[in-house]
Symmetry: C2
Subunit: 337 residues, 2 copies
DNA sequence: TGCCGCACTGTGAACGTTCACAGAGAATTC
DNA sequence: GAATTCTCTGTGAACGTTCACAGTGCGGCA
């Protein structure tokens, strides 16, 4: 094909080249059944010949559909982008949407300015749906979203809005139970936990699961809080060691925090797993690269992402409601417990 | 709740509400100087009042601009998404583009089907520019891109096309020199290296820098190759230890591979840094969480991303050519060397 | 035979912008 | 005082689609 730098071919050009009308070309391109085989073939040939590609702007002007979905990151972005889970989500979502020829645009909603931009973008009708990542219950974006009546789905439950915003998520609570039980079964007596932020479903539900097994009262003194960052894992571990020097196991709410905890344990001369068993959560890449390798709970993140996208596409396709999806976790024994 | 099916306000509504014409509203909105202060105020008020947001589809239909940039990942996606550098790039690019109200669309070009989708998207004129991530010289996408004559900029040089596709990148070669010199200065005598893939600028240039300091001939036997993955770092380290048991330092082309190398060294009973010094490259998050902490070379990734975006925006704004940007690296001493 | 429905096609009118143009006053120049 | 510029404004015509509508033959059926 000649590399002519001319005007992009339009549907008119295809119509002319194939000897049919605009309308027929449009129908042929959009799979309308009322197109003769002859016309269809002619259009196909003309499209190949001219290198025609539909102009989405023109199309969405009349259809009111954009073929675009926004992924909104409503976390202070540094934290989120550092999260190894995030890249899995992004990767899977990109692929799944691409299969349906839907473009994924990324937006960050860290501060008010960002948020305003997101809302403006959505209000402008530039996207058919929203994929929410790690939204907090208090996030003002959620309210604004509802006012827009645009399909929205969350990856991981949005605490306090479970019935409002559909989601797909791993079964955090059951996963935490698995780990707690595993530690108990190994004969650990003083099992502490480091939680994620309690305004996130992971933070809250993993603590709940932990308490389910060990009893809420029994663990009262054995809880420390982190924010999923490595640093916070270190701080929480120090705090626990100071408070409960004779603990013999700790369930940490994320692998990254667990990596921090491991470092502190080593620094304080505790052997892992001999003196203290450590359990993580996520089974992210880092779990295989700590020393010792981290026993953790695997979240089926790829599935979570796949299901999240599926839910969103269903809503966009006109479904009135969709069922939330909760996926099973799996304990992955390695060396730290 | 009443399903108010309210039409989105258009520029006509704003015109009516402010008592001026479409044209004046458009001018006011786009910063045309020929608008009276009275008209400007009226338009502003009407916009606020109606909640008007410009319809990008309609605008781009006439302007031929989309306000969208595509980030193309031309790596088998698993590998790329695992790369901690990637999230930095993504984060910074998102923010910088958002500041200019440009949307960022993510696309993966792993296989032929993906690539065809990307080209179709671009040929359809759905984006004003392309941000290339980790493109290889042999990538067929590059050729197709040139035929499209759409502004494109790479993050990191594209080997073999340095003069064709503008880029911003860290000074890999000088960074490698810094590390090599650092190891020499510490009295290391047998310094090996594990490279990244030699069809990437990082792989090639870091090896070049290493050779600059130690002499190409002298290190001939001391080179092993990896592919930036942790696993390949382990394999390369094993190979080196088998081949050169008395090596006393190794410069590894990425932190992730260095983490793998550290694990193998421990497994083989070598103490780090006493027996073997280990130097990494990237200063990614993992560098602080290995044991011992990794001495590495910091790439100013945020700046690289910022500059890449700047170059692209300049091209989009009509610049005919732009200068490549090469940014200085910095050695970060920690515990492994 | 006449009528109706079926399969397919072409045409005009949106969709919501921007842009080029023309025109109206006011200000400036000669 | 007329001519000229300068500022500001409104209007019609694109941009490239899809959609609704109005055909046109053609075959089947009463």
């Amino acid at each position: 094909m000649p590399v002519t730098n001319k005007r992009r071919p339009t549907i008119h050009d295809v119509a002319r080249a194939s000897g049919v009308s605009r309308g027929t070309v449009s129908r042929a391109l959009n799979g309308d059944p009322y197109v003769s085989t002859a016309a269809l073939a002619a259009v196909r040939r003309a499209v190949a010949e001219t290198g025609y590609v539909v102009n989405r702007a023109a199309r969405s002007l009349v259809t009111q559909r954009t073929g675009t979905v926004v992924m909104v990151l409503s976390e202070p972005q540094e934290k989120l982008f550092e999260d190894p889970n995030f890249s899995v989500l992004l990767r899977v979502a990109t692929r799944r949407l691409a299969q349906r020829d839907v473009a994924l645009v990324m937006m960050v909603a860290g501060d008010d300015g960002d948020r305003e931009r997101v809302v403006r973008y959505l209000r402008g009708g530039h996207a058919d749906g929203v994929l929410l990542l790690s939204a907090h219950s208090g996030d003002p974006l959620l309210g604004e979203l509802e006012g827009l009546s645009i399909p929205a789905v969350a990856c991981g439950a949005v605490l306090g809005r479970e019935g409002v915003i559909p989601y797909a998520a791993a079964d955090d609570r059951e996963g935490a139970r698995q780990m707690a039980q595993y530690l108990v079964d190994q004969g650990r007596k003083k099992i502490a936990t480091i939680t994620g932020p309690l305004d996130t479903p992971g933070g809250l539900n993993r603590l709940e699961g932990f308490c389910d097994v060990l009893g809420r009262k029994a663990v009262k003194k054995l809880i420390a809080h982190g924010d999923y960052s490595r640093h916070s894992g270190e701080a929480a571990m120090r705090e626990l060691l100071d408070r409960v020097p004779d603990l013999d196991a700790v369930f940490v709410g994320s692998d990254l925090m667990a990596a921090g905890a491991l470092a502190v344990l080593r620094e304080r001369g505790r052997r892992v797993p001999e003196d203290v068993a450590v359990g993580g959560f996520d089974d992210s890449a880092i779990a295989g690269s700590t020393h010792p390798k981290l026993t953790t709970v695997r979240q089926p993140l790829e599935q979570v992402a796949t299901e999240t996208v599926r839910l969103l596409l269903e809503l966009i396709d006109g479904a009135d409601t969709v069922e939330n999806v909760v996926l099973a976790t799996e304990l992955v024994p390695r060396d730290s417990a």
